[in-house]
C-alpha cells in the first residue's frame, strides 16, 4: 500500500477501513539465507538494504520483544555528521545523505528535519579543536560553518550571553544536521523490509548459536531453531550477552544514558544546540517538548533507568545555557543502554566464526548512524567485504593501535 495525501483523503472519506498492518506477523520459517538478530533501527535497516539494494531474499529479523523497542525508540533523535576522525566522518556523512533521501526511499514520513546543529565554543582551545573538526567535515564532503558569537546570537538569542560561567565564543554549525521522528524510523524500515518479503518476527528471543566446525548454522530461539546461511547481530544494549553465546568477549561495556523531555512548549529552539562545557544538549520536537540530555551515568548498567545526580547535572547545564527554561518542567526521563566501545566508535565486522557478523558498540551515536549502519552491514553480509565508509570499524583495531577515539579519552568507555 502506498502512503500519500490522496490515500489519507480517501480513507478519511471511507471510514479508514482500508489501512493494513504496517508489517506482517509471520511465523518463523525453518531456514533463512540471512538472519538478523535484533529488530531495532539497525537490524531493520540492514534487512531493508539487504532486500532492496543488495537483492537478497529469504531474510528474517528476529526481535525478542517488539520492534523499535531498544535505542531507536529511546534516544534524543539527533542526526548529524560533525565528526573529526577519518574512520568516522565519511561513514556519518554517508548516513546523513541516506537520511536526506530516506522518506522517499521508504515511502514513510520519518520527519527528517534538517534545522541545523550548533556546537557551542567557549574557549580558544575549543575553537581550535572545532576548526580542525569543521575542516575534516568539509574535506569529507560534509557542510560546516564556524559561527561568531554574534551569529550564534542571531540563531539563538535566548542563550545565556550575559551572565555565563562559560561565555559563548562562537559555534561549529552543521546546517544539514537535525532531528528525525525516531519511532518512525523503525516503523518505516520495517514496513519497507516487510514489503520486500523480509519476515519480521517479534517476541522471538535468540537463546544460542548453532556453530559447527567454526561455521554458524543457525540460531536457537524461544520459538525454536531457525537455520541460517549467515547471521548478523545488531543488538545494541545486548551485544556482549549475545556474542558471549558465540564464545566471544568484546571491547564493550554497557552503560545507561538518560534522556529527558519537557512538557510541550511553544517552539523556541530552531535546531539542535550542544553545550559541551556543560554536558547538555537540546532540541525541540514538533510536539513542542524540549528534548535534552547529557552524559551517561557512568557505571555499567543493563537497567533502562538512571539516577538523580545526572538528572540534576543535566538540568544545571540547561539552566546555565538557557536560563529561560527555569519554569519549564521536565516531563519524563528515561534511560537507554549504550554499548560503549573502548574508543567510543562502533564495529561492523566479520567475526572469527564463519557466517557470523557483528554490528555494535555504537556508544551513544547509534541513532544517527541507522541508515548507514544498515547499508554497510547489508554490504558486509551480502558481499563479505566491508563497505567503503566502514572499513575502520574492525574488531581487531586495538591490536594494532588504530583506535578511533574522537574524544581522546582512552580505553575507558564511560568517558567517551
Amino acid at each position: 500500500m502506498k502512503y500519500s495525501a490522496a490515500r489519507i483523503l480517501w480513507e478519511g472519506l471511507t471510514g479508514h477501513k482500508g489501512w493494513k498492518p504496517v508489517w506482517r506477523d509471520p511465523a518463523p520459517r525453518p531456514h533463512y539465507d540471512i538472519v538478523i538478530i535484533g529488530g531495532g533501527g539497525h537490524g531493520l535497516a540492514t534487512a531493508h538494504y539487504l532486500a532492496k539494494v543488495y537483492g537478497q531474499r529469504k531474510i528474517a529479523v528476529l526481535e525478542k520483544g517488539w520492534i523499535g523497542g531498544g535505542n531507536v525508540g529511546r534516544n534524543t533523535t539527533i542526526i548529524r555528521s560533525n565528526y573529526l576522525l577519518d574512520g568516522n566522518e565519511p561513514f556519518y556523512e554517508f548516513s546523513l545523505k541516506l537520511w536526506e533521501g530516506l522518506e522517499q526511499d521508504l515511502n514513510y514520513n520519518a520527519m527528517v528535519s534538517q534545522r541545523g546543529i550548533m556546537n557551542l565554543i567557549h574557549s580558544d582551545a575549543q575553537r581550535d579543536a572545532f576548526r580542525r573538526r569543521g575542516n575534516a567535515m568539509i574535506l569529507n564532503g560534509a557542510d560546516a560553518e564556524l559561527l561568531t558569537t554574534e551569529q550564534v546570537r542571531n540563531e539563538a538569542p535566548f542563550l545565556n550571553f550575559e551572565n555565563a560561567r562559560f561565555p559563548i565564543k562562537g559555534a561549529l554549525m552543521q546546517r544539514r544536521g537535525g532531528t528525525v521522528r525516531h519511532d518512525a524510523v523503525a516503523w518505516g524500515f520495517a514496513r519497507s523490509a516487510d514489503s520486500h518479503g523480509v519476515d519480521i518476527i517479534q517476541n522471538c528471543e535468540v537463546t544460542g548459536f548453532k556453530i559447527e566446525n567454526g561455521r554458524v548454522k543457525g540460531v536457537e530461539t524461544s520459538r525454536g531453531f531457525i537455520g541460517a546461511g549467515k547471521v548478523g547481530v545488531a543488538v545494541a544494549g545486548n551485544s556482549s550477552k549475545v556474542m558471549a553465546m558465540a564464545g566471544m568477549r568484546l571491547p564493550i561495556e554497557s552503560h545507561v544514558l538518560q534522556a529527558f523531555v519537557s512538557e510541550g512548549l511553544k517552539p523556541i529552539i530552531p535546531g539542535v544546540i550542544t553545550f559541551g562545557a556543560g554536558h547538555f544538549y537540546v532540541s525541540q520536537s514538533d510536539k513542542g517538548g524540549l528534548v535534552f540530555g547529557g552524559d551517561i551515568d557512568g557505571y555499567n548498567s543493563y537497567a533502562q533507568r538512571g539516577n538523580s545526580p545526572v538528572v540534576e547535572d543535566v538540568a544545571e547545564g540547561g539552566m546555565a545555557l538557557m536560563p529561560i527554561i527555569g519554569r519549564a518542567r521536565l516531563l519524563r526521563m528515561w534511560g537507554g543502554i549504550m554499548d560503549m566501545s573502548m574508543d567510543g566508535s562502533p564495529f561492523i565486522d566479520r567475526t572469527h566464526i564463519e557466517g557470523l557478523y557483528f554490528n555494535g558498540g555504537w556508544s551513544y551515536g547509534g541513532f544517527k548512524a541507522t541508515p548507514a549502519s544498515g547499508h554497510a552491514f547489508a554490504h558486509l553480509l551480502a558481499t563479505d567485504t566491508p563497505h567503503d565508509t566502514a572499513k575502520a570499524y574492525r574488531l581487531d583495531r586495538f591490536q594494532s593501535g588504530a583506535m578511533i577515539d574522537e574524544k581522546g579519552a582512552g580505553a575507558q568507555p564511560n568517558l567517551h
Binding site: S301, Y302, N414
Partner: protein, 95 residues
C-alpha cells in the same frame, strides 16, 4: 545509588568516580613475554556481564579510597564492597 563504604558506611554514589571492571587490578607484567597480547586483553576486553559485576569505584569526594564494588548491573543491587588495596594485597600484588 548508595555505596556502603567499608570504612565510612553508606555514601551517595555521587561522591565516587567510576573506572570499570575490577579485572583492571590484574595488570600483566610489562616485561614478560607475550605482554602485548596480555595488555590488549587486559585493557580492552570485557566480560560485560548482565548480572554480578565486580567494579572499581574511587571515593574522589571522600576518603580517596579505591573500592571494589560487587553489583548486579541489571538491578543495581550492591552485594559487596571492599577496599581495593585489601583485595590487591590478598591477590599478592608484586612483592
Amino acid at each position: 545509588m548508595l555505596i556502603n563504604h567499608p570504612l565510612l558506611g553508606p555514601r551517595d554514589a555521587q561522591e565516587f568516580t567510576y573506572l570499570g571492571d575490577a579485572s583492571l587490578l590484574n595488570r600483566p607484567d610489562g616485561m614478560a613475554g607475550g605482554a602485548a597480547q596480555a595488555f590488549h586483553d587486559y585493557l580492552y576486553l570485557r566480560d560485560n556481564p548482565t548480572g554480578e559485576h565486580r567494579e572499581l569505584w574511587y571515593h574522589e569526594q571522600g576518603d580517596r579510597s579505591w573500592l571494589i564494588v560487587t553489583r548486579n548491573v541489571s538491578t543495581h543491587e550492591i552485594l559487596k564492597v571492599e577496599l581495593a588495596s585489601d583485595v590487591a594485597l590478598s591477590q599478592g600484588a608484586k612483592p
